[in-house]
Symmetry: C2
Subunit: 124 residues, 2 copies
């Protein structure tokens, strides 16, 4: 099977998660070979946490897992696009549907994503 | 103005380009501070080419520039989402609308993006 080229960038590739239904871009995180294989094997998205330096089953704490619907590979084989069902409705640890919840413009910053939960209630 | 944190990852951050109208994810490339500023200043997307190690005005060869419609920043300030109008209809140098033109599945690979042009006709 065609695979991402993990060696190109020291073992990690960026992975974009996009809502399979609404097409909203939810987040970007990184995958190593182990998280890639675990994602395909389980059907739930696993990343590699660069801060904790370990496998990260997205939603393991909040319950907001990402169910994999489809996976696409780019022309250079060094980025993947994950089409997902976002359980709980929010991908961002700050409680927003998307991590890209701030839109910048000349006049400042505006919120552009729905706030789904209060992080203080979810991460206790 | 709120800015991406370029220092966090050695000067480069991933930038996702999404079609502002159809919400299709078109490509992922990298930006340094110069390309970020040039993008905001000109309204046309500039990346940093890691292979050529220089500022890359997307579409400079093919004419398929990306007109910036909006820019969003993620919660960690280390990834940007660019909402663009893709002139010419294709972001990928292989002639597809999206660089993510291959969908992987257990049974193999299928094309999942429209082929807009023949690269041999555009890059002469």
């Amino acid at each position: 099977m065609l695979q991402p080229d993990f060696d190109k960038q020291g073992g990690l590739i960026p992975a974009i998660a996009q809502d399979a239904a609404t097409l909203e871009v939810l987040m970007l995180a990184y995958m190593n070979k182990e998280s890639w294989e675990k994602t395909l094997e389980t059907g739930e998205v696993h990343y590699f946490s660069r801060s904790r330096k370990k496998l990260w089953h997205k939603g393991e704490t909040s319950g907001h897992v990402q169910k994999l619907k489809a996976v696409r590979l780019d022309c250079d084989e060094d980025t993947v696009l994950l089409l997902v069902e976002q359980i709980g409705g929010a991908a961002c640890h700050k409680g927003f549907r998307s991590c890209f919840f701030r839109e910048l413009s000349g006049s400042g910053v505006k919120e552009c994503s729905h706030k789904v939960f209060d992080p203080k209630e979810v991460y206790k």
